[in-house]
């Protein structure tokens, strides 16, 4: 019986739109691709995406969290961060994108356990799927820190399913206030579960707070990736005992005490 080697597919772009009325100027986009059969993606898993038009420059695919895996399409939310993601904004429906995934380990799903989702900016992406597929969504709450307006993110969908709270930081001075709020919510979840996705400084605060308040906590790392399959060793995270492990295959979601930041 032939083994199906079908994990890398050329899929078609269904749509690409700025997210919300202010998405374009803030560089936040919603991308929908044909689903090549990733129905079983678990929230927190990601895919590597490489438009066929890239030639050799940009060279690497870019990792994006699977925001929704629906039977007829895959939904991604992304932020323009540099050359690759800005090249993604030039896709048009019908274009081909090489995609492989779902990759890595997703977030722990613990039915019946109070779970605090902590999202920084575009780090909200994996939580959309998380909330959508969680068996006991009543146990979920979300704390969302962001800079561009809420309408740039898939926040409203989430707020309809789970207890959601958002905090817009407009300047550097707001950050300590956000960290305070984060600590408060952590304290309320002592012994429970917290899941975080966002920029590294944000993850550092999360990790520290989780340790302080005894919250079991998972964090999703956004390390630079070339291959996404564990081969290049370019994406490694360091464990407390100095081992270097691939974020793409051993993560991107780690227990916060498994790695140093």
């Amino acid at each position: 019986m032939p083994i199906p080697y079908n994990r890398c597919k050329d899929v078609t772009v269904l749509s690409l739109t700025p997210h919300g009325p202010e998405g374009r100027e803030n560089g936040l986009w919603l991308l929908e691709l044909e689903n090549p059969g990733l129905a079983k993606a678990r929230p927190g898993q990601f895919a590597m995406l490489r438009p066929a038009s890239w030639g050799f420059d940009p060279l690497w695919a870019r990792p994006l969290s699977i925001c929704r895996a629906l039977p007829d399409r895959l939904v991604f939310n992304f932020l323009v961060a540099g050359r690759g993601t800005s090249a993604l904004t030039r896709l048009t429906p019908g274009d081909k994108v090489t995609l492989w995934g779902p990759l890595g380990h997703g977030f722990a799903v613990e039915p019946g356990v109070r779970t605090l989702m902590l999202a920084g900016g575009i780090g909200i992406a994996p939580f959309v799927e998380y909330a959508a597929v969680h068996p006991t969504p009543g146990q979920l709450s979300l704390l969302f820190g962001h800079r561009p307006p809420l309408s740039c993110y898939p926040y409203e969908d989430l707020a309809q399913t789970v207890g959601a709270e958002s905090f817009q930081d407009r300047s550097a001075e707001d950050i300590p206030r956000f960290v305070e709020l984060l600590e408060k919510r952590m304290a309320e979840h002592a012994g429970a579960l917290a899941l975080a996705c966002g920029p590294t400084p944000f993850l550092r605060s999360v990790k520290a707070a989780a340790e302080k308040y005894g919250v079991r906590c998972q964090i999703s790392l956004e390390n630079r990736m070339a291959c996404g399959v564990g081969a290049c060793l370019g994406c490694v995270a360091e464990t407390p005992d100095g081992e270097r492990v691939q974020t793409c295959t051993r993560g991107p979601v780690f227990w916060s005490n498994e790695i140093t930041l």
Partner: protein, 304 residues
Amino acid sequence: MDLRVTLAGLSLKNPVMTASGTFGYGQEFTPYGDLRTLGGIVVKGLSLKPRAGNPMPRVAETPSGMLNAIGLQNCGVEIFLKDKLPFLPWRETPILANLYACDPDEFAELASVLAAEEGVAGLEVNISCPNVKEGGVLFGQDPAQAARVTEAVKKRAGNKPVIVKLSPNVADIVGIAKAVEAAGADIISLINTLTGMAVDVRTRKPRLANVVGGLSGPAIKPVALRCVWQVSRAVSVPVIGMGGIASAMDVLEFILAGAHAVQVGTANFLRPDFSFRLVEQLPTVAREMGVTDLESFRGSLKTA
């Protein structure tokens, strides 16, 4: 079309291997293709003891290329033989070990351990490594030292072919090639990465924690082709070409320049099924280009 090629006793079902450090230990790619279809698999560079490699960041994208300073992170030869090799389809596809050490004795020890394994079809020696005993000059940049490493490995390699992998960071690659041939290399592979660097103006920091790293990918293909052409004309051992191969046409280009076989490196990152697809496409592209037989096509470049 018959794509088989034999070099120094190594029989490949086709000339396309995967390059060390770009294909993990093989297993990472099993969801994307059938390892048995490949001409050969060169695994990630192995050292006697496990190595943690360099700190992050370790990779950076460059125009049509990339820099890496992984620092030879690997599980060590012992774990490789115990956990990784048994998984590989070595009865059907030659598995080549890539050897990394910092002095000739260590190289010799590594060679003897690996050569004793039935599953290891050949040894590829990475001489782009610093000679710790002689102040860190790279073995690969000095003909005499390159020859010493080659001899040391060859002595302990039993009947397994020894492939010496050359660095392009030299003034005269032919001189190095001749030295390792004379020292007993059965096959020469080339090129390893070019030394490069990238910086981030915003942070004022190098883009690699190690500051310098190795440049690979399509950007370096012209340098690689030139080295293959120069070396294959100057030595009588077979040559394995690599450096920026990213299509079936590129494979033919290297063979036209004189390579017996090739390795695909960075392109495996462009999409994980890259090498599998390339092997599938090769016969068609060869036919379109009027190549009916690799043997007569090899090195047939018409220079006036």
